[in-house]
């Protein structure tokens, strides 16, 4: 009897703890929606969680949940002309996933801005990420003069969020030459359609008419990256020389094309679908960058 009471006590404490923490998170995010001139908050913040995100963005929720979405706050603002600016702040589990969800939606061509960690503006829209937060501002019916204020408003939101800006360090290993600007992405699952590769960073390249990708996959340790490589090599359409994993390993992935990579400690770094000569050059630069950082 006594034990049951204590068990219930612990359960109760846990419930209270998580409840309080949830409320605290909610309150903390509530503070991320600032007041700014020309607009008034038109309603209370609406909150969504993993189990209710579908109610707000329907099928698009899957992509957010994949990147370990935790909480969304939505605040509407109205200006004097009854035009609505909607601010959505998505919290993900960590800054890598914040970047991941942001990068899965960012355009290749766009007007990029130094807001938060990085952002961009399009007609009626300004989106940016800041650490684990992905912020989406939309005001399709807001007139142009007020849309020009979006960066200023975004900066106010970023200030409220606080913390350290910056994009994931891993993306800085991709050399600039030939890289499609702002093409860096973090893919959380099934990189190149292969579950065994799990997650990784990619960047698009375009050289001499060839388009291809560079990638970085980080295993937990060297053995983990070796296992991933071994699984990948099982997909190769012909035998592969693997005596020296730090020299490029070259093989044809049945679905993705020519893969050239090297393994450095726990990392697999390489190119997919790049012409051999260009790939060798890029691999050399990738290795230099990795060893420098």
């Amino acid at each position: 009897m006594m034990r049951n009471q204590i068990f219930l006590f612990f359960i109760g404490m846990a419930w209270i703890f998580y409840g309080v923490q949830g409320a605290s998170d909610q309150n903390e995010m509530g503070g991320f929606f600032p007041e700014f001139s020309g607009f008034q908050k038109s309603d209370a913040v609406s909150w969504y969680f993993p189990e209710s995100l579908y109610e707000y963005i329907n099928g698009a929720a899957e992509n957010y949940l994949n990147y370990e979405f935790q909480q969304l706050g939505v605040q509407n603002y109205r200006n004097g002309k009854s035009q609505t600016l909607t601010v959505e702040i998505y919290r993900h589990s960590n800054s890598r996933n914040g970047f991941g969800i942001y990068s899965s939606e960012k355009p290749l061509l766009g007007e990029y801005l130094p807001v938060g960690s990085q952002g961009y503006q399009e007609e009626g829209v300004l989106n940016f990420f800041y650490g684990q937060y992905y912020v989406k501002m939309s005001g399709y019916d807001v007139d142009v003069a007020d849309q020009k204020r979006f960066p200023e408003i975004a900066n106010k939101i970023a200030e409220k969020i606080g913390g350290q800006p910056g994009i994931p360090r891993e993306t800085t290993i991709f050399p600039d030459e030939g890289k499609t600007r702002n093409s860096e992405r973090f893919i959380l699952n099934n990189l190149f359609g292969h579950p065994f590769l799990k997650s990784g960073f990619v960047a698009d390249y375009s050289f001499e008419g060839s388009k291809f990708r560079a990638f970085l996959v980080c295993g937990k340790d060297q053995a983990d990256s070796d296992r991933m490589l071994q699984s990948w090599l099982e997909m190769a359409v012909s035998p592969v020389k693997t005596e020296n994993l730090e020299a490029p390993v070259v093989f044809q992935d049945k679905y993705n094309g020519l893969v050239m990579l090297f393994r450095l400690d726990n990392r697999l770094v390489g190119t997919v679908n790049a012409p051999e000569k260009l790939a060798l050059e890029l691999l050399k630069n990738l290795k230099d960058n990795l060893q420098r950082k």
């Binding site: 899965s104 359609g193 679905y255």
Partner: protein
């Protein structure tokens, strides 16, 4: 079985690809080059006609929403899938752009493409459109979609995410859809619904204008019988019926302990003959292989039938059933059923005191499996016994006053 487990010899498929399934070699073919599923492979697939559109489709199509790898889409088309389903809003347009890259080198009659646009503004509380909702805005977005896809027309243009009869029949948007069809920008028009599906499907029938309905439909919906009946009415009225959300999530539980058998869930939907095709989403080649296998065989295995059992029963079944068949197999003569019971007390019921009492009563060493490097015991329920023992043995070492 789940997406994570082999079902049609995934490794064989992945190693040999489509060629392995069809017995031909693809070694000389690089990704991106046209590779069509050979006729003998296609002949095995089950086809259904998408209502009055007359389009014959394999029963499984590709929900492209979360796919970001063009090679995956290419592989799906090469393997025999025909319809690709995207939307204006997926990945803020990147999804349509990616598809545009994939299809630009393929003949227009080799694939069917469907996209969706949301009508805005919509009152989120009521699910209804407002006086500000204009057909022109819908068509502007649709034009952007065509541009991203690099097409002058799609096959199906859906009004996306309808939850109410009045929204399905909202004249300005319905007129816009009809206009797009008249202009040749789409061959057929439809609507998609994720909620309140029967009412919306009936409205689509009532309109006599929609050609296709795209509806959420799966074995875990509380109201799946109502959806089933509505689908039957739609099919009877000549509408094409496409099913989505067929796999009912990925896990049974919030803790993500118990994955849903995706293949069984997909088969469940397609056992309804009024569903003409389904659009499961996949992001990996092995998931695609699983879905391809459903395209040619809808028969449930015994395991798949069992995997569709509701969670409560399923959860209890995944814990030790005390059949005691493990006992003679253990070289250390461990009381495995008792250990598994203790494990269940801790893991499932969070009753650590009871679990510890039981463990201590067994008077085992702190490392019960210490004398064995591998475990030769095979559980009839596939419980990982060695892991379970390892996890639970430690509880005996914890100060019991913590649980007293």
């Amino acid at each position: 079985m789940t997406r994570n487990q082999d079902s049609i010899n995934r490794r064989v498929f992945l190693k040999t690809g489509i060629s392995g399934m069809a017995g031909i070699s693809l070694l000389n073919q690089l990704p991106g080059s046209p590779r069509l599923a050979p006729e003998e492979t296609k002949a095995k697939f089950i086809f259904r006609t998408l209502g009055k559109t007359g389009i014959k489709l394999p029963i499984v199509s590709m929900g492209v929403m979360n796919a970001d790898n063009p090679n995956l889409v290419k592989a799906a088309l090469d393997a025999g899938m025909v319809m690709l389903d995207t939307a204006h809003g997926y990945q803020r347009g990147r999804n349509e752009e990616m598809l545009g890259q994939v299809i630009k080198d393929r003949s227009r009659d080799s694939y069917i493409i469907a996209t969706k646009v949301v009508g805005t503004p919509m009152d989120r509380q009521t699910g209804l459109f407002t006086a500000e909702t204009k057909g022109e805005a819908l068509l502007e977005k649709f034009d952007i979609s065509l541009q991203r896809l690099g097409l002058d027309h799609v096959d199906i243009f859906y009004l996306h995410n309808i939850t109410k009869r009045d929204a399905a029949l909202f004249e300005p948007l319905l007129n816009a859809l009809v206009k797009a069809k008249k202009l040749g920008k789409t061959r057929f028009i439809g609507l998609s619904t994720h909620q309140n599906e029967p009412e919306v499907i009936d409205a689509a029938i009532e309109s006599k204008l929609y050609d296709v309905v795209l509806t959420a439909y799966n074995f875990r919906q509380d109201h799946h019988l109502e959806v089933k009946k509505a689908i039957a009415r739609a099919a009877q009225a000549g509408l094409g019926v496409v099913a989505m959300k067929t796999q009912a999530g990925v896990y049974w539980d919030k803790e993500k302990q118990f994955p849903i058998n995706m293949k069984a869930a997909l088969k469940w939907v397609l056992h309804d003959p009024n569903v003409h095709t389904a659009i499961p989403g996949f992001t990996a080649f092995d998931q695609m292989a699983e879905d391809l296998s459903v395209m040619e065989n809808l028969e449930f295995t015994e395991q798949e039938k069992a995997d569709l059992v509701p969670p409560a029963t399923k959860l209890s079944g995944l814990y030790c059933q005390q059949c005691r068949q493990c006992l003679p197999q253990c070289p250390a003569n461990l009381p495995i059923p008792d250990l598994m019971r203790a494990h269940m007390y801790a893991r499932a019921y969070k009753n650590y005191g009871e679990s510890q009492d039981l463990i201590r009563s067994l008077q085992l060493s702190t490392s019960p499996c210490g004398s064995c490097s591998t475990c030769s015991v095979r559980c009839t329920k596939n419980i990982d016994i060695r892991r379970g023992i390892h996890e639970i043995a430690a509880i005996g070492r914890i100060d019991p006053t913590l649980f007293a």
